[in-house]
């Protein structure tokens, strides 16, 4: 009889261990590395959807260039400095030029120009405070991708410490909390076509009530 109970006890241990392992595996499945970052370190990856901002189209040629403004609106919850890497990718899937990285301070606006090389008036000499992406002088077009510089944009940061939930000064170093605005400028008429940014403060959207994997936000402004 005693042996029977002992056997049951060991069975229960085995079942519990199995349950815990299954739960662990389910968690691993939920943690989609391409969306949320690495499973154990929570480090965002180059293609982690949650932390990327994209713009579908940019263009340069002899009569046009692309202008982007990136603003830190200094809202509550944002780290006072947020670093981003902005990459103009051409339609051949190659980088138009070396990606530019910079840090934006609270309340500031950083201008980014995607221009043909040797542009007469829009260049780093005439506009020293701006960031420039200059690849070739030929007609080139593609899309823009913005990644955070911070390894853990999903964790609050304050006073040099990750996961700091201090009520003052703590914030996320998250590129998606910045606001982006831009145009493809047609120089002859000083007119242009507005750009669209997906994933920034304006367009991003968390799936608030979709706790499980397999659901995704879709459709027009789910509000």
């Amino acid at each position: 009889m005693k042996n029977k109970h002992l056997k049951r006890f060991f069975y229960s241990v085995a079942i519990t261990a199995f349950l815990a392992l299954v739960a662990g595996n389910a968690f691993a499945a939920n943690q989609n590395i391409k969306r949320d970052g690495a499973k154990t370190t929570f480090e965002s990856q180059a293609n982690s959807n949650d932390f990327i901002v994209v713009s579908p189209y940019w263009q340069v040629d002899s009569g046009s260039y692309t202008f982007i403004a990136v603003t830190h609106s200094s809202l509550s919850g944002m780290a006072s400095q947020i670093g981003i890497t902005i990459n103009a990718i051409d339609n051949a899937k190659a980088a138009y030029t070396t990606a530019e990285s910079f840090t934006i301070q609270a309340g500031n606006t950083q201008r980014v120009f995607i221009i043909p090389t040797n542009h007469a008036s829009i260049n780093s000499t005439s506009i020293s405070s701006a960031v420039f992406l200059a690849g070739t002088s030929d007609f080139t077009h593609g899309h823009v991708r913005v990644n955070p510089i911070a390894s853990h944009p999903n964790m609050k940061w304050a006073a040099g410490k990750l996961n700091n939930f201090s009520t003052t000064g703590a914030g996320f170093r998250d590129a998606t909390m910045l606001t982006y605005w831009g145009s493809v400028i047609i120089e002859a008429q000083t007119t242009g076509f507005a750009m669209e940014f997906i994933g920034d403060m304006n367009d991003s959207h968390s799936a608030s009530t979709m706790a499980g994997v397999g659901y995704t936000a879709s459709g027009v402004n789910l509000q």
């Binding site: 815990a20 662990g24 509550s76 000083t190 304006n202």
Partner: protein, 243 residues
């Protein structure tokens, strides 16, 4: 022994369940800024933002229209502060870079961010001196920055009744409508205007009537009102990457 075994089985089953719960909680950590009901200038629900504004003396300026569409859930008057950020204004102080006004139901206010020496848009021109037109003047140098609109109401997410503000909201059933003193009840439109060709680049407003995001429902099933650029854990929010 039998009872002990059963007890241990239950404890370990519970442990197994806890393991799954705690791991799930760590997957992502969305912004968790304030508890429901917290008010004050740092609460993002009071803000509308626009990413870009520009002034090139006598060549381009920024125009913003702020309207009160007089919807049922909006207070009949909503106060705002429109502020030009990261620009050198005249005077270059917190009051110089901002204009404060109240938008009444059905009215539209105009805000110009323009260089101080602009040849036509100035306070000597009667077209720009009425009470619904506001100028934020910058120095006569190229300027760029962004716009932040702050609602004067400190509790934008909480409806007010006759007890909070004078006047009943419904003639038949007194005080039956919930109204909000919330900047997201206003609609905003704007442009960076090019004087040379009369064309411009449309501005984008985040947190106004068009772009405000409802707070959604939390895990405790508490649902929140629309709150401008709210960033809250467990709610629908801005700032979470590409869908």
């Amino acid at each position: 022994m039998k009872k002990l075994s059963l007890f241990l089985m239950l404890v370990m089953f519970g442990f197994g369940m806890i393991v799954s719960t705690s791991q799930a909680a760590d997957i992502t950590q969305a912004p968790d800024l304030t508890a429901e009901g917290v008010t004050g200038p740092n609460w993002n629900g009071r803000f509308v933002i626009s990413p870009y504004a520009q002034v090139v003396p006598d060549a381009s300026y920024t125009f913003i229209g702020v309207s009160h569409p007089s919807l049922a859930t909006a207070h009949t008057s909503i106060g705002v502060v429109v502020e030009a950020l990261d620009m050198t204004t005249v005077p270059n102080t917190s009051s110089g870079r901002a204009t404060v006004f109240t938008v009444h139901a059905g009215t539209t206010h105009r805000v110009f961010i323009v260089n101080q020496g602009h040849s036509t848009i100035n306070l000597s021109n009667a077209s720009f001196t009425d009470s619904k037109t506001h100028l934020i003047t910058t120095t006569d140098a190229n300027q760029f920055g962004s716009v932040k609109v702050t609602g004067i109401g400190t509790s934008p997410n909480f409806y007010t009744s006759e007890a909070n503000r004078p006047g009943k909201y419904n003639t038949t059933t007194a005080n039956s409508l919930s109204k909000h003193d919330n900047v997201s009840q206003l609609s905003m439109w704007g442009v960076v205007y090019q004087s040379s060709n009369g064309a411009g680049f449309a501005l984008e407003f985040i947190g106004d009537m068009h772009d405000s995001n409802s707070g959604g429902c939390s895990v405790t099933n508490s649902c929140y009102e629309a709150a401008g650029t709210t960033l809250g854990q467990g709610t629908q929010s801005g700032g979470r990457g590409v869908n």
